[in-house]
Symmetry: C2
Subunit: 302 residues, 2 copies
């Protein structure tokens, strides 16, 4: 299962009750936080995201609207007594900043914070998922991320499994290919009570970037792509100057990369109404949705 919950969809300035960038990516049983603008911990409370379930945080770049909420979130996790490890992926200078903020507060976190400086390529490689990092084109160094299931869970045939004596408590293991042995010692082969897994799911977050066809290879064929769309298409000149994208540009990238579905966000605070973003992007790539705060965008395995 892959899902993205938007916590903030606005660009630099908070406006119209829209917040700076932050999103939670759910990949099976894992929750990732991707960028963390000011107020993210409050948005998490509002949308009932459990902080304790997040073990990996990814920060794309060091413009404040993408990370000013991080130190508050980390500090709160500490105050709440978190003990399990946290992995933080971000530009190298982020570690210096956090260390300094903890030092001046005389704060020692009660959990291990493992820092992974961003670099091109594979940056996380866990049991069930991996994450690739790639450069995008922004005014300061900025990275996108591609999250991939290593393999999707197999599909259980529940009636058959129950018939053959597999208890429901074992279903999660069935999904990941384990065989079951009954109390009587009978081996139930996984294949006899499950179907093959669908293709692994993938999600790409291309952060803040100007139009850049170099990223197409990096995000090729993902089920879901988030691409920034700071401006409508009539402001293409401003978009270039500020290293951002328009609706048309984001949708063009989605088409060229043959992604399954596109969500667009990072709207400029000059726009109060967002409907034209949807119209313009859909004219180029029909399977597009606005990234709206509090909304979860799901992709089910095929």
């Amino acid at each position: 299962m892959l899902a993205v919950t938007i916590l903030g969809n606005n660009s630099a300035l908070p406006a119209f009750d829209r917040h700076p960038t932050a999103q939670v990516v759910t990949l099976d049983d894992q929750l990732f936080l991707v960028d963390c603008g000011e107020g993210t911990q409050m948005q998490m409370a509002k949308y009932r995201i459990r902080r304790s379930r997040i073990n990996h945080i990814f920060i794309s770049h060091l413009h404040g609207d993408h990370y000013f909420g991080l130190i508050g979130l980390i500090t709160s996790m500490g105050l709440l007594g978190r003990e399990h490890d946290m992995h933080l992926y971000g530009p190298a200078q982020l570690k210096e900043l956090i260390d300094m903020q903890l030092r001046v507060a005389d704060t020692t976190l009660p959990f291990a914070l493992h820092f992974h400086p961003l670099q091109e390529g594979l940056i996380a490689n866990e049991d069930k998922f991996r994450v690739f990092c790639f450069k995008v084109s922004h005014r300061i160094p900025c990275w996108g991320f591609r999250f991939e299931q290593k393999r999707a869970p197999r599909r259980i045939l529940p009636e058959k499994a129950i018939d053959m004596g597999v208890p429901a408590a074992f279903f999660d293991k069935l999904k990941w290919g384990e065989d079951y042995t009954t109390k009587a010692g009978l081996l139930i082969k996984n294949e006899s009570v499950t179907m093959a897994a669908p293709s692994p799911l993938s999600y790409a977050y291309s952060a803040d970037t100007m139009y850049d066809e170099n990223i197409i290879d990096k995000i090729k064929g993902v089920n879901l792509l988030y691409h920034e769309t700071t401006y409508l298409k009539d402001l293409a000149d401003r978009a270039i100057k500020r290293f951002h994208c328009t609706t048309e540009q984001a949708a063009t990238i989605a088409g060229k990369a043959a992604v399954g579905r596109l969500i667009i966000g990072h709207f400029s605070s000059k726009y109060e109404v967002l409907s034209e973003f949807e119209n313009e992007a859909r004219a180029v790539f029909s399977n597009t949705d606005l990234a709206l705060e509090g909304v979860t965008y799901r992709v089910l395995g095929s």
Copy 2:
């Protein structure tokens, strides 16, 4: 005129839709921001505080719930094109932190940010007001502030002033003691159309502190005192361990310092309901109110 608008009244963890510490102090035509927890710029938008009117920001100490919102606010002011000077008063290391955050974002502010490291004594001495800084007792270095009118505005006798030909547009100057000369060259002495000014107003903010009678001298006789009250009185032991105060302790300080009125805040997130804070503090110092977000506490000259 003296007024304090509460933007955040909670201690370390945001909870129950209460926010970390921030307040706006209005002294005649000046707006001061005192502490700036995460989300302060959003709270300012919610309560319609005009960012552009704030020219002095005071940060009491470097625990995150008192300053994590500062860099976002400053950055937003820059993005909005602010050009007039800002004065920032805070612990010396705050400047290093801000400089670093601006540097990694490759951001140059379009306005001058004058940094004034905190020290005991007079830290701001302007035309109409002055600010004293004093040490309080917390786990890390922490300061309180005392804001004083240099003199209160004189009281205009409007009918008399109009009778004598002073236009309403000149009334603001009348308040500050200027004489008026009519077009015909007649001098209208200020004293003939105004009454003496009331006593100058003063406000003290004692930041995060454990019970400390050393501050009494520093806040003596202010019209309005904000004192932290993280815990109810039954948790006096915990208050000491964490360098905070209880209701009774805050109210005791208010009484010993003979202040006019007390507002209490910085409530622990262990309390959802706050009414008992009011009850306990009023039992010791009757003129006490809870610091509630969005509420403005005024003191009129006597």
